[in-house]
Amino acid sequence: MTSDLPVPATETTPTSGPVAALELRGLTKRFGEKLAVDDLSLSVPVGSLYGLVGPNGAGKTTTLSMATGLLRPDAGQSFIHGVDMWQSPLEAKQLVGNLSDGVKLFDRLTGEQLVTYNGLLFGMDRQTVAERVGDLLRLLDLESAAGTAVVDYSAGMTKKIALACALVHAPKLLVLDEPFESVDPVSAANIRDMLTEYVTGGGTVIVSSHVMDLVQRMCDRVAVVSAGRVLAAGTIDEVRGSASLEDRFVELVGGRHHSEGPEWLRHS
């Protein structure tokens, strides 16, 4: 991996004491009867590669949406490097690069146009945007598809172009919701390298996933979320103890069946 990835300018925060890259306090969201996120608090230190794991429907996407200003919480706050997302959204959003799961892109644009669009929306100048778009397309191995409309991309390519959109303004915090879904192993490895390098350069990443193995290998910290609450949080070693992260996860979340499956599914 080369080092021409846009890396956030390291700066010293004026406030005393360490300010978390992402600080969630008491986030709560209710959809009708269902309490999707229940008084959730979480602190993501600067420079960490933070994994957010949980079973399907645990409230990961809802939490990240509230953290990044896409979904207004019923209660609670989200601070990006000390900036309150819901008090000064424009300022806070400048600091965040966001890859959300389950939303579309402006897919009639070509990949290159789409990334350019995101850069310009952040108020960057044309020259810088053009340079970074070039870098990102090369890093993500999308150069040959730069001129193709995103609607014609495969699922994995679409994830990668969305990642490029999230990176183009060199955010200080990257919030990635299921970034590895349907991405091929080679691209996934490239993306992992990129994220590691980004963190080394002073950036912070929070990534949701349900691939435990990947989180254990890639992240230095992890939070296990289930039914809208944090069950455990800390460094990987703190959370997993002596077991593997996957075993610990299953133990925390529960719901594992130790049956052999129905008779008719056995063919031998």
Binding site: T68, G69, L70, L71, R72, P89, L90, A92, K93, Q94, V96, N98, S100, G102, V103, K104, L105, F106, D107, R108, L109, T110, E112, Q113, T116, Y117, N118, L120, L121, F122, G123, M124, D125, R126, V129, L137, E143, A146, G147, T148, A149, V151, D152, C165
Partner: protein
């Protein structure tokens, strides 16, 4: 297995209705309308039993032919009108082709249009009730007639899927086919005029049609009632052969369609070509404008709005022709302005969840609004001005130019301002990108019509000063008032545009996440 398919079809219909009460209301209204038409049709057909055979046969054959033609043409216009049992979705199940065909046919017959068609077709039994043998034949032929309708329509749908698997082609054809439909009024008028002058030709037309696949099933009972059993037998054979042929063709095209997934033609531009993004100023508002304008050019859901541009003058010409005066044609400019300026009144709905980009990137409300307004203005304003100038030149009424232009510009600018506010507030179900742009999204009919009428009413109010001034100037022949209308149109319109963008921007800043939430709910529907 066939019953499972049928149950699935009704389950889906039921679940869709349960989701949204408004949709239920829409379906009930649609259903009542259908029932009304059906009631009239049944009464008419039974009443025909007391008419002379010649008349009854002519009416039944013509109506029946139109019915079959309608069934065959509809899938061309509305792709995906009945997606519940789309073959593509059933590919993964090991269904034998014959059962699949049977299931799809029955599902077609038992859909709402199918039921209405069946009842109307069976009503022909009432028409021939005085001739028992003919009535029995009518019963049998009604069944075959309905089957021809359904199978023919499915065949055309399957064919059009394989023909139009190229995205661009599909999108374009969706728009082009709609033009004659919108012009249906004038077309029917001219045809009706032709028919009025040649009403004597109708029986001959019916007689000719009765030997074609369209009319054959409906004319068998008539021939039996007339006592011409030879003709009846021949036409019955035509009916059977038609149905068999359609079924075979359908089977083949379905077999092809099942193994050919809808592919898309990839169009590619060279690396580094960022199109309009390189042309507009490199600011958030400029980027939004470039994106909107790109969509105007690439997304048929926007492009389809432009068909009013040729249609309005054609319609006005047609009415002018009726009034034997070209004056009406002068209204082209203002009318196009009125319709085009509101074409994006729910712009954010067209973004769908892609709107999340704007929310996540922290786009300021007024940048978002301004960008969209500029794109709309770039598309619409030149068209409106050109249309105004050309129509005034054609009618040679240059004296009317100031009031007409005043109304057109006023409506255009006010509309842009109004859209800036309304699209930050109104979210309606629209066809998803890539769907047929004329496909009405589920549940859209009623709410869409309601919000569209409200917006039109507001725009009319906003433009009232120009309209009154222009009207007075034309009525009383006072050119001064016309010039005043032009001035008011430009100034007041500009004020509304600016105020709209600011108010819409403020609204956007306050409620963008909620707007996104509503868009997500729609996508889930």
């Amino acid at each position: 297995m066939v019953t499972a398919l049928l149950r699935l079809r009704f389950r889906v219909l039921g679940n869709t209705l349960r989701r949204s009460p408004w949709q239920l209301v829409a379906v009930i209204i649609g259903g009542l309308y259908g029932l009304g038409v059906l009631f009239l049709a049944v009464v008419g057909l039974v009443a025909l039993g007391f008419a002379p055979i010649e008349l009854a046969s002519t009416v039944v054959v013509l109506a029946g032919s139109a019915l079959i033609l309608g069934w065959i043409l509809v899938p061309l216009v509305a792709t995906g009108i009945e997606q519940t049992l789309e073959p593509a979705k059933l590919v993964q199940f090991p269904l034998p082709m014959s059962k699949l065909l049977l299931g799809l046919t029955l599902a077609g017959v038992l859909g709402i249009p199918g039921i209405i068609t069946s009842i109307a077709a069976l009503a022909t039994v009432g028409t021939w009730i005085r001739y028992p043998l003919a009535a029995v034949a009518a019963l049998v032929c009604a069944v075959f007639g309905v089957l021809i309708c359904v199978v023919g329509s499915r065949l055309v749908a399957a064919l059009s899927v394989s023909l139009s698997s190229r995205r661009r082609f599909r999108e374009l054809s969706g728009i082009l086919i709609f033009i004659p439909l919108i012009l249906l009024g004038p077309i029917i008028f001219f045809v009706a005029q032709g028919v009025r002058t040649s009403a004597d030709a109708l029986p001959a037309l019916a007689a000719a049609l009765s030997w074609s696949p369209l009319g054959a099933p409906w004319s068998v009972p008539a021939d039996i009632a007339r006592g011409d059993s030879g003709a009846a037998a021949l036409k019955f054979v035509i009916t059977l052969v038609t149905l068999a042929l359609l079924a075979v063709l359908w089977r083949r095209s379905l077999a092809i369609a099942l193994v050919t997934p809808a592919s898309s033609a990839r169009k590619r531009v060279a690396r580094g070509k960022i199109g309009l993004f390189g042309v507009f100023p490199a600011t958030p508002a400029g980027a939004v404008a470039a994106r909107s304008l790109t969509y105007w050019l690439r997304d048929p859901r926007y492009a389809r709005q432009l068909i009013v541009v040729p249609l309005i003058p054609i319609l006005l010409l047609f009415y002018s022709y009726n009034f034997h005066s070209l004056t009406l044609l002068n209204l082209t400019g203002p009318l196009i302005a009125f319709l085009l300026s509101l074409s994006t009144y729910t712009d954010v709905s067209y973004d769908g969840t892609a709107f999340a980009t704007h929310v996540a990137d922290g786009v300021r409300g007024r940048d978002d609004r301004l960008g969209r307004a500029v794109a709309l203005g770039i598309i619409a304003l030149p068209l409106v001005l050109l249309a105004t100038l050309i129509t005034v030149a054609v009618t040679g009424s240059w004296g009317l130019l100031p009031p007409i232009a005043g109304m057109a510009i006023g409506a255009m600018l006010s509309g842009i301002g109004l859209c800036a506010v309304s699209s930050a507030r109104i979210v309606i179900p629209v066809p998803a990108a890539g769907d047929n742009p004329f496909k009405s999204a589920p549940g859209a009919g009623f709410t869409t019509a309601l919000s569209a009428f409200a917006i039109w009413g507001i725009l009319l109010l906003l433009t009232l000063p120009e309209i009154l001034l222009a009207g007075a100037s034309i009525l009383f022949g006072m050119p001064v008032l016309g010039w005043l209308a032009l001035l008011v149109g430009i100034v007041l319109g500009a004020v509304f545009a600016v105020v709209g963008i600011r108010r819409g921007g403020a609204l956007f800043d306050r409620t963008a996440p909620e707007l996104l939430g509503r868009l997500k709910m729609l996508r889930g529907a």
